[in-house]
């Protein structure tokens, strides 16, 4: 009788443990996608911060954000490294890690503008690999609609804002025409993207995503207005508003992730 009870208990434990394992797996694929997106965003943030630091602009804020971005990149890389088993994804991740290691020659040292653009080239390689990794996650896993739609849109927005803030200051240091064209196209693309996704997020009444996103739109309009001031460059305001927007968007994306 006691033996029967014991078997029953062991079976129950195995079933619940396997249930847990399944649950863990599904949570972890979303978490890994999030880490891959974060990698993309924080590398762009780090690029912007480094450019400001190289030119000794807004150093008080740039140095804090730079430190934060490096921490987040290392954290994301570590999580991905520990959890990615799939061969294709592993290949992308190894190449990202390789590029990131090469980048440390620039990130942790005092560099000049010329060296910065060499660093920028390496960053482009990481960006491509991270995009491939994200696409692979999306292809292999069946994510729920809020993840494939709103969550992704928010993460893409975070990246775009960081990229614009980077371009804004690169423009000030004198970039070539193709960069300038890309910069202007990016602003328009981001503006269109805002219009395209606004309705679905504003009409979402779960949590406080809607009021938060309305605040982001106000920030975006102010940010945009600052990008086109012809008479003077208010790069500190542009920098800090990009930080504020990122903070708010991060809160919104976390709500989609935790839903």
């Amino acid at each position: 009788m006691i033996r029967k009870k014991l078997y029953f208990l062991i079976i129950i434990l195995i079933i619940s443990a396997s249930g847990f394992a399944q649950f863990e797996e599904s949570v972890s694929s979303e978490k890994l996608l999030d880490k891959a997106y974060d990698l993309k965003i924080y590398i762009q943030m780090l690029t912007k911060d480094k450019l400001y630091l190289v030119n000794k602009i807004n150093t008080e804020y740039a140095v804090k954000e730079f430190d934060y971005a490096i921490g987040e990149i290392n954290n994301s890389l570590n999580e991905l490294d520990l959890n990615i088993q799939q061969p294709e994804q592993r290949k992308y991740l190894d190449r990202i890690k390789d590029s990131w290691n090469k980048l440390s020659a620039y990130t942790y040292k005092d560099i000049d503008n010329k060296q910065f653009y060499k660093m920028y080239f390496e960053i482009q390689v990481i960006n491509q690999m991270t995009d491939d990794l994200i696409n692979s996650f999306l292809k292999i896993n069946q994510f729920p609609e809020p993840i494939t739609n709103q969550y992704r849109s928010i993460q893409e927005l975070r990246y775009m804002i960081e990229q614009i803030a980077y371009y804004y200051y690169a423009d000030y240091t004198g970039m070539n025409q193709s960069f300038k064209d890309a910069y202007r196209q990016n602003i328009k693309k981001t503006d269109d993207f805002f219009k395209q996704i606004s309705n679905s997020i504003i009409n979402d009444n779960v949590g406080d995503k809607s009021p938060q996103f309305i605040r982001v739109i106000a920030d975006w309009n102010f940010f945009k207005a600052n990008l086109f001031h012809k008479k003077f460059h208010n790069y500190r305001t542009v920098f800090n508003v990009s930080t504020t927007i990122d903070y708010k968007l991060k809160n919104i994306k976390n709500q989609y992730l935790n839903n």
């Binding site: 804020y61 106000a218 920030d219 207005a225 008479k231 003077f232 504020t244």
Partner: protein, 260 residues
Amino acid sequence: MLHIKKIIFILMFVSFILPGYSQLDETKMDELVKYTFENELVSSRFIKDYFSIVNNINKKSSMSDLDKSVASFDNNLMYIGEYVTFHPEIKKYFEELENYWNLYRISLFDFENNDYKTVLSKNENLFKLQVALKNKIFEKQPISKKKKHTLEKVEKIKNNVKQITIAYVKYVITKNNVKPVKSNLLDYDLDKVEKNIKKLSKDKLIQAEVNDLNSYLNKINLLIDTSIFQPRSFLIDTNIFSAKSYNTIIKLLQYCKKIN
């Protein structure tokens, strides 16, 4: 004995079912106070910088200062927003301030219209909303008497900066034939600033800093009295007065952190 146990149980039960709002821990409250005061001080600078830009006084440097101030205000507001979520009523006051700021900050960079009167009045509204938020925070999370006493000094220094800034704006309006604005928004009282400084100089912690501030106040008084129009000098003295006041406030707030 049994009754006491029952009472304790009932009290515990009631405390569970009542809508309890959490309080901020002391470190977070200190941070919140710091960002709130910092932003009040920063908002005094907006009108000074805007007014200098549209009147072509130290334009390049004023543009850089305005950029710095707006960036700093935005950054502090982000932190304040993070901390005020502990109480829905305070959050409401914060949202009102944030919504107002979102509209106001756009006009701060609109130099083409040269509408300093609107900026002046909007700045005052911003200031009122900041004070209302701060009062609400202190109402919902009271602080010790000792801390309150130190913060009263911070309040005095902050108001001194506001008075000096208004004096600068009025000086340029009067002496540079700028179309005047009939408004009590341009009323200032430098005698009150002097009295404040005198009181503050009794505090040994900030005595040296306050005496330094006094020397700048004397210079500003001389500038107002002289017939030669020296807006650049006045602006620079105002900037120094503001920067030194900021450092004094930081010193007081650091001391405040140590008080229980």
